[in-house]
């Protein structure tokens, strides 16, 4: 009996915990810049361990939606329950939340005046108050995991785009977050560097991390995603399993988007 359970838990993929463990619940969130409505009533739930890929035409509000989840963008209406915080929230709870929600940006946003090591230890030391030696240990393990431990004392400017983005992922992971947000993580990369970043993300998904990924990499969405969200005009037009999403489009805008993506070759292997 016990052995069985252990085996089961070893086999256990992220899907196991999903049904009862909601980590993000958005209720009718709205946001506008002046008269322009960016988010127009988004409601959805994300479960622990789920990998959600957010796709759609540019200007549809994908990035803005992602950035509302760690309160980089304040919302005008509605509410977001994320982990144990309800947004909008006080500055203090937002800071607390952000320590548990990692984010990776399109343009990496590494601290250019610090070495790779310093990039990785700054947040753990200042936000989580862990010791330098502990933070260093963590940094070394993480850099090993993203396969760039030999670059630890270089500066970001000396690294390739793909390496920089892997450092950025490691930097976010150094806070031991429970959720990871990726905002077009491969869009600023040269084509030959896309896969090294996607591989790291794939490993992360395998390890059971809850991930929300705004992306144009349709193959990644198909292979790694548990769910695909299609956003257009600030609305969540479609939310379905990857198979369903790519094989049986239900929304005319979704079909239009898919045919464009596929004919333009934007979907990389």
């Amino acid at each position: 009996m016990q052995v069985l359970e252990i085996e089961r838990s070893m086999d256990m993929k992220k899907r196991e915990t999903k049904d009862n463990d909601v980590v993000i619940r958005c209720k009718n969130i709205k946001k506008s810049y002046g008269r322009f409505q960016v988010l127009n009533g988004i409601s959805t739930e994300v479960h622990a361990g789920e990998v959600v890929c957010i796709v759609g035409p540019s200007g549809g509000g994908k990035s803005t939606f992602l950035r509302t989840l760690n309160a980089l963008e304040p919302i005008n209406e509605g509410s977001i329950d994320i982990l144990d915080v309800r947004l909008p929230a006080s500055k203090k709870s937002v800071e607390h939340l952000r320590r548990e929600v990692g984010m990776v940006f399109q343009s990496f946003n590494l601290f250019m005046h610090m070495s790779v090591r310093e990039n990785l230890i700054l947040a753990p030391m200042t936000a989580s108050k862990i010791s330098r030696s502990e933070a260093n240990k963590r940094a070394e393990i993480l850099l090993n995991r993203v396969d760039i431990s030999d670059q630890i004392d270089k500066f970001p400017g000396q690294l390739s785009g793909g390496q920089q983005q892997r450092v950025a992922i490691a930097r976010a992971l150094a806070m031991e977050p429970r959720i990871m947000l990726f905002d077009e993580p491969t869009s600023a990369l040269d084509p030959e560097m896309v896969n090294e970043v996607l591989d790291v993300m794939r490993d992360l998904a395998q390890s059971g991390m809850t991930m929300l990924v705004v992306t144009h990499e349709m193959n990644f969405a198909r292979e790694v995603g548990d769910r695909v969200m299609f956003m257009v005009d600030g609305r969540l037009a479609v939310s379905s399993s990857p198979n369903e999403f790519f094989e049986n489009p239900t929304d005319p805008r979704q079909s239009a988007f898919l045919s464009k993506i596929i004919s333009s070759g934007a979907s990389r292997p």
Partner: protein
């Protein structure tokens, strides 16, 4: 005419004491200017609200009036308004501090804004406390970017101290004109202080050039 070094030799100690006062007033005004400029800069960085508007007003006011007018105004009008006397030196320092604060506030603001927004967003997303965002993320690159402008302004400030001779502060220009009046050796004294100003300011200008070059070189990679 002939260049009469005799008078220079006799009175060089007065010129040197003037030089000392010039340097002292420059540095003190710079110090007050940095502190007050920081406050004004933080106020203006708020981008809206009453504090923002007050800071903008102060900065614009002291940047637009000529330094001489400011010096005379602080020296002769301020005591009347507040009905107490302050020394010429104090009013000179006050006037130049206000002048420095207004210019430095704008330099600081440009420095802070020169740090890409993404750097701040990344540190926010990591939950880094605000104090460390300022001290570790914004300040180091901002300081590097604004150092040339600060040193450049310091040279302006040193030159502006010569205006204080108008209210009788015994800085270098004042000493030279007084000695000129006394001995008629205008050429000698004024040339001497011109050289001294050059010797102080030129190295500073050179350092600005070096810093600019280094900054451009590092921005290139």
């Amino acid at each position: 005419m002939r260049f009469d070094t005799h008078q220079l030799v006799l009175n060089y100690h007065l010129i040197l004491s003037g030089l000392k006062i010039t340097c002292l007033i420059s540095l003190i005004s710079l110090g007050f200017g940095v502190v007050l400029g920081l406050v004004l800069c933080l106020g203006k960085l708020r981008d809206k609200g009453i504090i923002y508007r007050v800071c903008c007003g102060i900065i614009d006011f002291f940047r637009t009036i000529p330094e001489v007018v400011l010096i005379f105004w602080v020296y002769s009008c301020l005591p009347l308004l507040l009905s107490f006397r302050i020394s010429a030196e104090a009013s000179g320092v006050l006037a130049l501090s206000l002048f420095a604060a207004a210019y430095l506030a704008e330099i600081f603001r440009a420095g802070v804004l020169s740090v890409p927004r993404g750097q701040v967003e990344a540190s926010l997303s990591l939950g880094i406390p605000e104090f460390y965002i300022w001290s570790r993320i914004i300040f180091p690159p901002a300081l590097r970017n604004m150092m040339p402008a600060i040193v450049n302004f310091l040279t302006e400030l040193i030159k502006a101290t010569s205006l204080l001779s108008a209210i009788g502060i015994a800085e270098m220009s004042y000493q030279a004109t007084i000695l000129g009046n006394k001995t008629f050796a205008y050429v000698e004294f004024l040339s001497a202080i011109a050289v001294l100003y050059f010797l102080i300011i030129f190295p500073l200008s050179l350092s600005v050039r070096t810093m600019e070059k280094r900054r451009l070189a590092s921005a290139g990679n």
